[in-house]
Amino acid sequence: MHQRLTLGGTIGAGLLGAMLFMTLAGLIALPYDPVALDFNQRLVAPSAAHWFGTDQFGRDVLSRVVLGGRGSLLIASLTVLFTVVIGLPLGALLAYVGGWVERAGMIVLDALLAFPSLLIALAIMAVTGPSQSGLIIALTIAYTPGVVRVTRSVALSLRETAFVQASEVLGHTTGHIVWRHVMPNCVAPVAVLATTLFASALLSESALSFLGLGVPPPAPTWGGMLADGRSFLSEALWLSLFPGIAIALSLLGSNMLGDALRDRLDPRMRSMGNAA
């Protein structure tokens, strides 16, 4: 059952695709070495030689944006992936099992939710130390409770539906019911949440990089570049502008794709062509 995405979804997918293409192209060739210092070319404005200009150490901004995208997008997408893979089954199971297991689980998760997710990430980063994998672990732990909450609330109402009860009466196990009925029907709201999480993860990554807890220099990330460029805003706007645009376009792309996915994942919105 293939059906085109809506216009918004196509644009969103296009934007994300372009970002991905850019970072992949960077694997093959970069105009300059993104970490090479060149003190003769410090703070050069965008020109034919340096399209996005250079920074205070004479490094090519275009090369750094491309390389930074690899880090930022990888961190954001892996965070979202782990969050959903852990949060969706956990939420569905907690809701379906119920009883004291659910209550205990929810107390732990609510306690985590009570702190701002950035604060939790900060605390975890302080333990793991600044590294790419540490960042992913920290953000995953910070965002999972939200996914569990959403999944659980949807699953709670699903538990009372007649089709879940029919499955129960047919003698199916809890595992089967959660896997077959509860989780698939939670996917749509979680997919929408995931796209906003993707955006938050990108932003958190930049915030943590700004605080020196992100990916350690000289490896660039968009957030880190944005933070570095801050002190040169008046003389070299391009230092912050281009990573900023890259972040904005990725966020826009993920949000538009999220909206389209929500519609696409609802079976009632699928093709009515073969209705009887």
Binding site: T161, A162, A166, L170, H181, P184, A276
Partner: protein
């Protein structure tokens, strides 16, 4: 109190001429003409999707945005409705009409005391002062038999029962003395006894203020009992229009006659001796079901509500037992305890000698496959993400050594049994009609070859003609496979049509239990008598004629 000026056409209060209404490419109403005169009750009847609500709404210019009128005209008291828009339209509508909807809870504002809602509507539409409106509201509440009207005006909608709420809606709709009352399925959500009370009250009040009533309903018996004239709609087309006599009691249109023949009538044949003497397959012994409420204060005990109290029943192999009762009588709780979706708080449910509550895990999963259930709303009983094949396959248990394709083949067989063709296998539930969905639910329930099928209001959400076919289907499947059936319903005619024995539940207690004939012809309990007296049925009276039948005179007073 009639400061509404007389119209130049005193004959017809509302006149609809050649009305055609479309939504996008779909025609909702096609060339419809009806008129409503002062003092009469006109019914609009049809199945879901026939356009009856659209017709009622177009008569007061209340069509939703995407719906357009492309032909014909509507006049209210001589004013062409099409020529009005915005404020004048709202004023005319407010002054001339009152509306009562199916679900009174959604039509009343839950955050406001009912008194304020009544008075405000009255002040706005009739232009009377607040003290006068208050006086009218008090009088009206007294009139609709609500005890202590002064106090009732200060209460909130949720503090009233469903029937009371619908009376309040009626009061709100009539307080400003409109000339036309539009009632859209006003009693569909109510129990039989309450339904009669509300309908009687509605007719009385409309008569008192000399208004006309447009009654939108799917219930032909209600039409026959309360309407003067009737329009029958089918898919936006007018099938017939005229007096109730001509249209329904002596149907001249084959399509109306067909609709009438779908009414559940007749009684199940007496049981064959083999079934009569069969051993009970399901024994319900002294079952009580209580729901734990909340603690009001942490140290106080939980309040609990008994849904079912000390009910004992038996179902023999191959027979059909109907459990009849109004909403809140505990019939659904009881049905769910039979398939162990609920654990009784006390008492036992045993199936083929095995106490179900003693089973756990694996043993329970094995046993419960013999007890299947079909729910009321087929739309929510099917996983929207599973195809028909996947849904039916849920009920099939593949064993080792099965040929590949066995599931698909068996599912095809099951679909054929419930009257669906193979091409529906790969279709998603939303692409099916309500009746087809219920057939899929039945196929799924039959897949594990159950020995008992519980049908929880399985035909209540369906249109009359579909309902008749599903009842036939269940009966023929029962003949073929010999399973026993517990049929939960609020509809006596359905119970009579399908059941060998009937159990009547009233407020959680079993008040009557016996053979269909005995319960319906010689009811012993006052509640059963009241229920029978309140039920309206249309019966064939020979030579293509129909007559309204009421079962028995009221001989007992029962609070509802």
């Amino acid at each position: 109190m009639s400061h509404v000026t007389q119209t130049p056409h005193p004959s017809a209060l509302v006149e609809v001429r050649n009305l055609t209404v479309v939504a996008g490419a779909r025609t909702l109403l096609h060339d419809i003409s009806i008129d409503v005169h002062a003092g009469e009750v006109v019914a609009v009847v049809g199945e879901s999707g026939s356009g009856k609500s659209t017709l009622a709404r177009s008569m007061i210019g209340l069509l939703p945005g995407e719906v357009r009128t492309t032909g014909g005209r509507v006049t209210i008291a001589g004013t062409d409705l099409m020529s009005l828009q915005g404020r004048p339209l709202r004023e005319l509508r407010g002054r001339m009409t009152g509306m009562v909807f199916q679900e009174p809870m959604t039509a009343l504002n839950p955050t406001m005391p009912v008194g304020r809602q009544l008075i405000e509507a009255c002040c706005t539409h009739a232009g009377v002062s607040r003290p006068e409106a208050l006086e009218r509201a008090t009088a009206m509440l007294e009139r609709i038999r609500i005890r202590d009207p002064q106090a009732a005006l200060k209460r909130y909608p949720h503090e009233f029962s469903g029937g009371m709420r619908q009376r309040l809606m009626l009061a709100a709709a009539l307080l400003h003395r409109p000339r036309l009352l539009i009632a859209d399925e006003p009693t569909t959500a109510l129990d039989v006894i309450v339904q009669r009370e509300v309908l009687d009250l509605m007719r009385e009040l409309v008569n008192e203020i000399g208004a006309a009533m447009l009654l939108v309903t799917h219930d032909l018996a209600v039409v026959a009992a309360y309407a003067n004239r009737v329009a029958v709609l089918d898919a936006g087309h007018s099938v017939d229009w005229g007096s109730v006599q001509d249209v329904i009691l002596r149907p001249r249109e084959p399509r109306v006659a067909r609709l009438l023949s779908a009414l559940p009538t007749g009684r199940r044949q007496a049981l064959p001796a083999t079934v009569e003497s069969a051993a009970p397959i399901l024994t319900v012994d002294q079952v009580s079901i209580t729901y734990a409420g909340r603690r009001e204060l942490p140290w106080k005990p939980r309040t609990s509500k008994a849904a079912v109290q000390n009910v004992s029943l038996q179902v023999r192999a191959g027979e059909t037992l109907a459990i009849v009762g109004e909403s809140g009588s505990g019939k659904t709780s009881l049905a769910r305890s039979l398939v162990r979706l609920l654990q009784p708080s006390s008492g036992t449910v045993s199936f083929a000698g095995q106490d179900l509550s003693s089973l756990h895990h694996r043993a329970l999963r094995e046993w419960r496959r013999q007890l299947q259930i079909v729910f009321q709303d087929p739309a929510s009983a099917l996983d929207p993400r599973l195809t028909v094949l996947q849904t039916v396959a849920e009920g099939l248990k593949s064993r080792n050594g099965d040929r590949p394709g066995w599931v698909r083949q068996r599912a095809t067989e099951l679909l054929r049994e419930v009257g669906l063709e193979q091409r529906y296998l790969d279709v998603l539930p939303h692409q099916l009609s309500g009746g087809q969905r219920q057939r899929v639910c039945i196929a799924r329930a039959l897949a594990p070859e159950p020995r008992l099928l519980v049908a929880d209001e399985a035909v209540s959400a369906l249109d009359l003609s579909v309902q008749a076919r599903i009842l036939d289907l269940i009966e023929s499947l029962q003949h073929k496979h010999g399973f026993a059936c517990v049929f939960v319903t609020h509809n006596l005619a359905v119970a009579e049509r399908i059941a060998d024995r009937i159990a009547v539940l009233y407020r959680g207690e079993l008040v009557e239990y016996g053979a269909t004939q005995q319960v319906l012809d010689e009811p012993a309990h006052p509640y059963t008598q009241a229920l029978l007296a309140a039920s309206l049925e249309l019966c064939a009276a020979g030579s293509g004629r129909f007559e309204l039948r009421s079962r028995q005179p009221v001989s007992g007073e029962v609070a509802s």
